[in-house]
């Protein structure tokens, strides 16, 4: 089992979600986060002039998948979240030792 953490543009969430659903990956957890990378913040209007905000709103998707689904899931995310502009975000893959479905108590791969 692996955990995919993808930080993407908020406006891409819906596209990514439904594309993942298309390959039968339904479970996921989403968090509103603020990010900074090559796309270095944004300048916003104030009463006069502008001020700089260092962090931009992003969305973090966490999906735990079976090892065999990992590649497919990542491909889907990369292709659907891409605009080609700075700020498209990152995908990180983390190892998972175990998983439990709270409702049933199922452990390991059965829990996904």
């Amino acid at each position: 089992m692996k955990k995919i953490e993808a930080v993407i543009r908020p406006e891409k969430l819906e596209t990514v979600r439904s594309a993942l659903a298309g390959i039968d990956i339904l479970g996921m957890t989403v968090t509103e986060v603020s990010g900074r990378g090559r796309q270095r913040g944004i300048s916003l209007q104030w009463r006069v002039g502008e001020y700089r905000v260092e962090f931009l709103p992003k969305v973090k998707i966490e999906v735990v998948v079976l090892d065999e689904d990992l590649g497919r899931a990542m491909n889907v995310i990369v292709s659907k979240a891409r605009t080609g502009e700075r700020g498209d975000g990152k995908i990180f893959v983390l190892p998972i030792d175990n998983a439990v479905r709270i409702r049933t108590g199922d452990e390991g791969e059965n829990a996904i």
């Binding site: 406006e11 819906e14 603020s34 944004i42 916003l44 209007q45 962090f55």
Partner: protein
Amino acid sequence: MIDAGDTTWILISSALVMLMTPGLALFYGGMVREKNVLSTFMMSFALIGLVGMLWLLYGYSLSFAPDLGGVIGKLDFLGLMNVGQEPSDIYASTVPHLAFMVFQGMFAIITVALWTGGIVERTRFSGFLILATLWFTIIYCPVTHWVWGDGGWLANLGVLDFAGGIVVHVNAGMSALALALLLRPRRGFREGDPMEPHNVPMVMLGTGLLWFGWFGFNAGSALTSGGLATNAFVATNASAAAGAFTWMLLGWMKRRPSALGAATGAVAGLAAVTPAAGFIHPLVGIPIGIVASIIGYYCILWRTKRGIDESLDVWAVHGMGGLWGALATGIFASVTINSAGADGLLWGGGLQFAKQIAGVAAVAAFAFSGTWILGKLVDVTIGLRVKDEEEVVGLDISQHGERAYGGILP
């Protein structure tokens, strides 16, 4: 002769109607997504500025100056010429002419603001400002003159519109529909994206302020303080109450009594009673409100099914509400309530009912087609719709360079 009590009433009513536009900004702003809140607010606030000035400069003259052929006012009142601290010869003889002028100006502002509800979350701000200027000049001022101007052809015909069911609500509602059709739906609308209201308490607060301000709108339209203003006040509250409660029940029959529904119903009731408030028995406000909510409810159902993204339902709630109210005036009006009015269908006034139909039809047709043409004109020249990326990112950032709620901070 100026009466201090009447003047106080018109001044405070003007202030109340002014407050309705910020109220509308909240009402609309709470219903859009977080990325478009300020854009939605600005479509109202910019108009308090823009129309607020244009009204003084020429709008009042086009609407209320001595008549030219039944269709428009002359330029006698240009730049407030001949509009001073003394009463007008024609309108509202117990208050300063300036008071009547500014009271009417507040109506102009909110009417333009109303139809912005049809095209939120996708309209280019620059195109919008041009369109608003054109619409105000070419649609609003003439229609106002027709119905309320001394010598306007609908006024001459005897069409009754106490506080703007036709001038404000049918007018704005049909215009919103035309523009929504022209601009096409928001991205994701037809795909069933949720478009969840980002802040319903903000909608409720807006509703409260609208309701509060509407007392000035309707009861102020008596133009004097006294029995008639009171009658309109009570009818207004009755219809709003009935509208709110009815819409709540309609939602409940399907599933649950929703707050958003109750707020919508209140506004439907308020819009519908607007043309009638000073002509009907106050209790008639109740059936007017009930029917307004039923009509509004099913109109929204219909337009959603047809895939029409008239986003915040100006047509269904205001347009159809105002239409129903104008017809209801032709049914329930009674000269025992207002001797300057007429008897409706119920008291044998079939002709009045026909006149009301004519008035509504004329304004609806003119507003719809005129607005469509103006919108098209702006769209092909300056552009009325934002680019796809701008829409996706949100109009607060793309049109106004700011965001509603500040984030991660020291």
